[in-house]
């Protein structure tokens, strides 16, 4: 398994650059990923999405479905794509440290 080092911390990542377990996550990870996700400056709105994702994940063990994410944040899907250009599943979940959903998705 590949690893990346950033600000003195080591993260274990999968082929698509997701951290392999949520307990590795910290704010430096977001800082590390943002550039490759095409985000120059993190705003409060980015953090709101990240926190909603993480809160749901801690409670349910899975990322929220997109429709729950848009309802809870109050952001339309289009706007979430503006915040995270590679989308809620790939961009936002990656930054929040959540695993990719698998199966018929």
């Amino acid at each position: 398994m590949a690893t990346v080092e950033f600000k003195g911390k080591t993260f274990e990542i999968d082929e698509d650059g997701f951290i392999t377990s949520f307990d590795q996550w910290n704010e430096d990870w977001v800082d590390y990923v943002k550039e490759s996700e095409g985000i120059s400056e993190l705003t409060e709105e980015h953090w709101k999405v990240i926190h909603v994702l993480q809160d749901y994940y801690k409670k349910h063990g899975i990322a929220p479905m997109v429709r729950i994410l848009t309802k809870v944040t109050g952001y339309k899907l289009k706007y979430i794509y503006e915040l995270f250009p590679s989308g809620p599943g790939k961009g936002a979940c990656k930054m929040a440290g959540l695993p990719k959903p698998t199966g018929c998705v």
């Binding site: 698509d16 409670k59 349910h60 479905m65 429709r67 698998t102 199966g103 018929c104 998705v105």
Partner: protein
Amino acid sequence: MAKVPKPNELVFDYNPPQKWWMDTKPEFRPGTWCYPGKAKNAEVLGLPNPREWSPLDEDWKLPSNWKEIIFEGMRDCLNKYRSLRVFMDICVRCGACSDKCHFYIGSGDPKNMPVLRGELLRSVYRKDFTLAGKIMGRIAGARELNEEVVKEWFYYFFQCTECRRCSVFCPYGIDTAEITIMGRELLNLLGVNIDWVLGPAANCYLNGNHLGIQPHAFKDMIEFFVEEIEAVNGIRIEPTFNRKGAEVLFITPSGDVFADPGTYTLMGYLMLFHEIGLDYTWSTYASEGGNFGLFTNHDTMKKLNAKMYAEAERLGVKYIIGGECGHMWRVIQQYMDTMNGPADFLEVPRSPITGTVFDNAKSTKMIHIVEFTADLIRNGKLKLDPSRNDHLRVTYHDSCNPARAMGFFDEPRYVIKNVCNNFWDMPPNCIREQTFCCGSGSGLNTDEFMEMRMRGGLPRANAVKHVHDKHGVNMLSCICAIDRAVLPPLMDYWVPDVDVTGVHELVGNAIVMEGETERTTDLRGNPLEGMEDMSDEDL
């Protein structure tokens, strides 16, 4: 992640390579192969040789006696599955199948011709299991098993979606999907597999569904849809979970619970069952219709299928209704009865609303929701307003497995035509039993495989484009959760103005429910025809 070329950047080359096929090796180009199975998932499923490995490495870390394992595995499969021996022996390489595969059409790679995909395995069979092959070797189409062969199997058996379109055209009825299934069975003996199959199968084994949704989360998600329905038409639905003594157990793919646009199809199920007052329950244990075990090996398929019936027995239901899932129906129709059956603790399904007895499900005790709904409509038990789908111009993609494993052609069209006023079929040589695959089935619906998915989906997309151009079709309906997940990016790529839906989303739009408030939008919140002028606040 491999970069996906734009449609106009794709090169289609149908010239065969210079060298004989046995001397041509696959090139592991990004976008044409899937990530290997992770050790943790193989361990959950008890599969052999869990390890970290990569198809790009020279050394695939096969067990030291790997050759013996394959031969033993082949012997075992040939003894167990008579069909395999027949398929190995009777192919005359006539080539009727060769241009029928969506991956061949989309890639131009001759090893995606089903006949040649079969030869990848058949050549090894000839060498070690037939006299002619043993004596004449290469002249008789036989070849030595070596690591290069295993790598080639991996590449091409995971470039087949097991859709069975080729078998429709085979004069001998050879089921190439079954050859791929056997190929994957053998590869799994060595620990050679892909993670997009193993991950969901492991999740299903641990948590009851491919996504790994735990019981409390599953309930939370269904309850989210209850609120959404109430917002659309004011009706409060009260679904039950794990309820003993219910008449029916309902099982659908977990994709419908989680991913758009399947979630709207799930709302349609909830609305239908509520309106007819069906005595049914959801299960948070058997919370998956799909079975990625089918894409792994027979043993895993059997394990995952068993929980559906174990749960039906535990809850004491009379029979099972299955949702709009694709490959679940191949497992049910083709394997269940001899694998985990007979389900003699269940009853032959009988609709409590119409009294219709579904004799076709006499042995599996499991009926398809679309046949259940078609029967309701035929008996005049549903109040429908098809004009609520007038903003949609619909066509229907026959999902491969319900079509070719069930012969399920007319029921979906009957339902659609009763809930929609605008319906056009695609041309006859790419619907019904000749339907073209979505290009991402059998566990290949993963992002790193996107280029091949777009190539393989081209024939389907091309037919959609035809009805889009000719009739203004803007909605592609289907009855499979993999379809609902993969057709949207396929449409975005090839036919950008077409969206994707399940059949029961269309039912959910059209169904007139007792006590409902005035409907102004469809289930997605889009205004119905004639209601476009209403502002967001009015809606």
